[in-house]
């Protein structure tokens, strides 16, 4: 990455989202969440609190779960991003999405994209997490419908599913 001294005005930015390359310009003060939603149309990145408390805007940045509302878009230059939109393969849901569906792990659905991304971050590190590990991994994601019990069940089920079936790519 070349060091940059920015003049006022927009900066060039190139990144990959869900496997597709994008090149654009962005004002330095634009958050990554706003860039993904407004400039690229990934509105599955939900904005709740917009100051890093609720977890609804969680995405994967180079494979690790982060809150996109407290990252600047310019900081994501050169990175690989995954959002909820990139998980399903045509009609086939990602195992975590499928488990959320089967275990009624969402009610209004607002927290769901962030929950799913946080769960994927956990399952890529820990194949068969314990319930405390699942709860810890999801602790930064708030659900205002109080659906945590079914969310934890869904993540547990997704872990079992991915442990016994061929890897979902």
């Amino acid at each position: 990455m070349e060091p940059t001294v920015s003049p006022p005005g927009p900066l060039k930015l190139s990144l990959r989202v869900n496997g597709v390359s994008y090149v654009g310009e962005v004002e330095p003060r634009k958050t990554l969440a706003d860039f993904l939603r407004e400039d690229l149309g990934f509105t599955g990145v939900n904005l709740g609190c917009e100051h890093g408390v609720c977890g609804a805007c969680s995405i994967l940045l180079d494979g690790a779960v982060v809150r996109s509302c407290i990252l600047l878009a310019v900081q994501a230059d050169g990175s690989e991003i995954a959002t909820i939109e990139g998980l399903a393969q045509s009609e086939r849901l990602h195992p975590v999405q499928q488990a959320f569906l089967e275990h009624h792990a969402l009610q209004c659905g607002f927290c769901t994209p962030g929950m799913v991304m946080a769960a994927i971050d956990l399952l890529t590190r820990v194949r068969s997490p314990t319930e405390p590990q699942i709860r810890e991994a999801l602790s930064g994601n708030l659900c205002m419908c109080t659906g945590y019990t079914n969310i934890v069940r869904a993540v547990r089920a997704a872990a079992e599913e991915t442990a016994t079936s061929p890897k979902h790519e």
Partner: protein, 293 residues
């Protein structure tokens, strides 16, 4: 909930960051993990005119063992410390603290240097690095400067780091065998900042028992509870098995030191008592580890 406009500078190296800080971006803020700064900017509680993004300086991200110390680069992320086998083995108290900081998404971005320089009085790392007697290395245009952690923090969100310096590294001395340790915090929700926290370290130094007891949360900077340290050192030197009997005294001394400290954040009996209870429990846990290596 959007930051006010600012000029953005990306530093590719430490010298370049210093040049920016003393030149084009003078008066600007350093952006490390951004997990406190960017929320403050979104809320417009902070409106820096310029940001110097330090994240491209990857050579400031490391954890290594050097000359009887563990050196940790300022841009090392919490997650790297959490999963470091070196830290788990050599600095178990630090390893135990890491999962208590925020949430996974925070720890994937947050950095050691950012947490220390931000100096939130309820943060975990300032408290535990003071207990570990870490040395903090700062660089400015005229060279390097070293401060012990207990001298670095001077108040709420306030350190001795000047506007023209960058925190570069923490160096933590390895304590000798037979170490006992504990870190306990109380927060209302998992992952929140601590209402009160206590770090206790017991070890042998030059053949003598040493104790470091540091509290946070109820004070505006990490506070060493020296009366409890002295009490523990005397008891351990006598090979005493009666520390159990001293626990009420340890709680009382802690409450009293917090109350009489100029660092006390507010006149809160609840926070003082909570700190005392945590100190008592943490001392017990550290002594148990000390006696059962």
């Amino acid at each position: 909930m959007k930051p006010a406009p600012f000029r953005y500078y990306r530093a590719g190296s430490l010298p370049q960051a210093l040049e920016l800080l003393n030149g084009a971006a003078e008066g600007g803020k350093l952006l490390a993990g951004g997990q406190s700064l960017v929320p403050l900017m979104n809320l417009r509680l902070a409106r820096p005119e310029a940001l110097i993004d330090l994240n491209p300086i990857r050579e400031l991200s490391y954890i290594r063992s050097e000359n009887g110390e563990i050196a940790i680069g300022a841009l090392t992320r919490h997650r790297e410390m959490e999963f470091s086998a070196l830290i788990a083995r050599e600095l178990p108290v630090l390893g135990a603290v890491m999962p208590q900081i925020g949430h996974p998404a925070i720890r994937n971005r947050g950095t050691l240097g950012g947490s220390l320089a931000h100096a939130d009085p309820a943060a975990e790392l300032p408290c535990v690095l003071t207990a570990l007697d870490a040395k903090l290395i700062m660089v400015g245009s005229s060279g390097e400067r070293v401060a012990r952690a207990e001298d670095f923090f001077i108040g709420t969100y306030t350190t001795t780091l000047s506007d023209h310096e960058i925190l570069k590294e923490a160096r933590i001395p390895l304590t000798e065998a037979n170490a006992g340790w504990s870190f306990l915090e109380f927060s209302r929700r998992h992952g929140d900042f601590a209402l009160a926290e206590t770090a206790v370290l017991l070890f042998t130094k030059d053949g003598r028992a040493s104790a470091r007891v540091v509290v946070g949360g109820s004070v505006d900077r990490p506070l060493r509870v020296r009366s409890v340290e002295t009490l523990l050192e005397n008891e351990l030197a006598r090979n005493s098995n009666s520390i159990e009997n001293l626990l009420p005294e340890i709680e009382r001394l802690t409450v009293s030191e917090v109350q009489n400290s100029e660092a006390a954040r507010e006149d809160s009996e609840y926070l003082r008592n909570l700190t005392g209870v945590l100190a008592r429990r943490a001392v017990k846990e550290a002594v148990d580890r000390w006696s059962q290596p």
